[in-house]
Amino acid sequence: MKLNSILLTTAAIAWASPAFAAGDLFIYTYGEYTPPDLVAKFEKAFDVKVHVDTFDSMETMLAKLRAGAGGYDIVVAGDPNIQLMISENMLEKIDVNAMPNYVNVDERWRDVYWDSGRQYSAPWAWGSTSFMVDSAVVKGDINTLGVLFNPPAEVKGRINMMRDVNEVINIALRYLNLPRCNENPEDMKKVLELLETQKQWVKSYNSEFKEPLVSGEAVASMAWNGYAMRARDEKPSLVYVYPKEGFTGWMDNLAVPKGAPDIENAKTFINFMMNPENAAMVSTYARYSNGIKGSEKFVDPKLATAPELAPPAGTPAPEFIPNCSPASTKLYDRVWTKLLN
């Protein structure tokens, strides 16, 4: 009987759904991406309680929203993911371009491939994926992907690659001068051969690249620019490289998933985030650029001069890689499985 009453109580707790107050905003994003002072500022200005829930990867977020999990007002998603979510009818059309603060969005980020004319999404932060080298150890020309794929003696056995199928295969395709989102099996065979050859010199496949670089386990590693800056803070000899073959760019955006409980609050937040002063808070906290004009004067001055965020003149523009077709995704997956076998 005891058992029954325990079960009943549990059931009662389990199904009592939480009551939502009128002023709530549920944000679904990466951890350490949302400045606490920004949240406090928004809460104070609009009398809305902000709840931040975090995911580990875009894939988790997508799988979840695909299956129909709802309840989030704002989701932070990368450029190919926004493209995918729009095409799969997973986002609310909120006409970001009609919002008052839209004038602040840099022209460069308006007619983007993932949301041309910005009907669904607004910029949150953007950055690049390239690689980092310990200049105290690695001599010679470092401005080439050859450091990773045809490494000099001092780099052999001390390479760290990200453990991310898309990032790794895209950088390999770039080295081979082959198109990204490749659907040609012959090309992908070459990628596999290149990566398999490289594997003997790879110390680890780890997306957390700061620790291996700072400890000296790796002297060359794939890197994201903002986090690379943190690595340089800890080890000044680390250099973020803009290779002559080019590098990947990405942008994380704010969007509203279909069926969001409070679209109005979500819109208020998105408009709020296109204010330069607020966008600057994100850059200062997360160390990535934002896409808002006029935010420079509010950003931590350290960032303005950081080579990771302000590439030298003459650097090629970052390449934004759209969502790949199912055929190419399948090839990527096969190359990855064979590489890590």
Partner: protein, 305 residues
């Protein structure tokens, strides 16, 4: 239920009602919230993948075919491929090693704890589980920092002057093994202790009086009492460690895929739910067969006295 069963039952829950009342809540909860959802995934394994995750409702066995065969990179013809079998084998082998290592440490540890005083026994059990309040990922990363070339362990060893260059403690099979043991140790120690705690040490005394050697005493008297715990602990370590991948990813340098990674990516980045579902169903079937075989064997042994 036979009269004999009733006699042998320790709790005299002889009435069918009491029996059902005890068993049903657990079985019911699992049936509704685990077996029913997994049945959905079983159905998924016979469907076609949707473009970006999810399924299209067309019957297909491609998911299962893919496990053994691959379409040629160029001409698309089906050919046998051992890639996924290798990954499956690696994961099962890893789990077996992990189980053996855990056993080797846990049997002495559980025995040692059982010989402590009544008051200190729970403290020891607690001491073994306290580190597990810390997240597995964080613990595994901390273990890597200790093992790596410029980590405190290597520094300490080099200070003693035993070696001048750091020992290769990280990014190899040694590190993976250590990490696996670190992930699962209490899941072996606690069931073993739980079974062995009731051991009557006078039995050992009697054995020695009859001139049994320590070895014989251990294998003939101690181990049989531990047996139920051994089975329980082995299940709790072996099965979850098949699917685990944090230790190889972090401590092994992430150079190989485990079945857990493989299934995970099919549901996430690779957008191939039917293939992920098919892989899971195969894995599930294999584990179920092993488990039922073990259950039957242990049941036969129990009736044997």
């Amino acid at each position: 239920m036979t009269a004999q069963a009733e006699l042998r039952s320790p709790f005299r829950v002889s009435k069918r009602l009491a029996f059902t009342g005890l068993l049903l809540p657990a079985v019911g909860v699992i049936t509704i919230f685990m077996i029913a959802p997994v049945a959905i995934v079983f159905v998924y394994s016979f469907l076609e993948p949707a473009r970006y995750g999810g399924v299209v409702w067309n019957f297909s066995v491609e998911g299962y075919l893919q496990i053994l065969f691959e379409r040629d990179f160029v001409d698309g013809s089906l050919q046998f491929s051992a890639d996924y079998l290798v990954i499956l084998w690696r994961s099962v082998f890893q789990a077996a090693i992990c189980t053996v290592l855990c056993l080797m440490i846990s049997v002495p540890t559980a025995y040692f704890i059982a010989t402590r005083s009544e008051r200190t026994k729970p403290i020891w059990i607690f001491l073994i589980t306290v580190p597990y309040w810390v997240n597995l990922l964080i613990r595994t990363i901390a273990l890597l920092f200790i093992l790596r070339d410029d980590g405190p362990l290597n520094k300490a060893i080099m200070m003693t002057g035993l070696t001048t260059s750091p020992l290769p403690l990280s990014y190899n099979n040694f590190a993976i093994g250590l990490g696996l043991v670190y992930s699962f140790l209490p899941f072996m120690v606690l069931p073993l202790y739980s079974a062995f705690e009731r051991f009557d040490f006078r039995l050992l005394e009697a054995a020695y009086d009859l001139y049994a050697s320590r070895r014989v005493a251990f294998f003939k008297i101690v181990l049989p009492v531990m047996r139920p715990g051994l089975i329980a602990g082995s299940l709790l370590v072996f099965i979850p460690s098949i699917g685990s991948y944090l230790a190889p990813d972090i401590l092994g340098g992430g150079k190989t895929l485990m079945i857990g990674n493989l299934i995970g990516t099919q549901f996430q980045g690779a957008h191939n739910w039917p293939f992920g579902a098919a892989l899971s169903m195969i894995l599930l079937t294999v584990t179920l067969i092993v488990l039922i075989w073990m259950a039957r064997r242990s049941a036969r042994k129990n009736t044997g006295y």
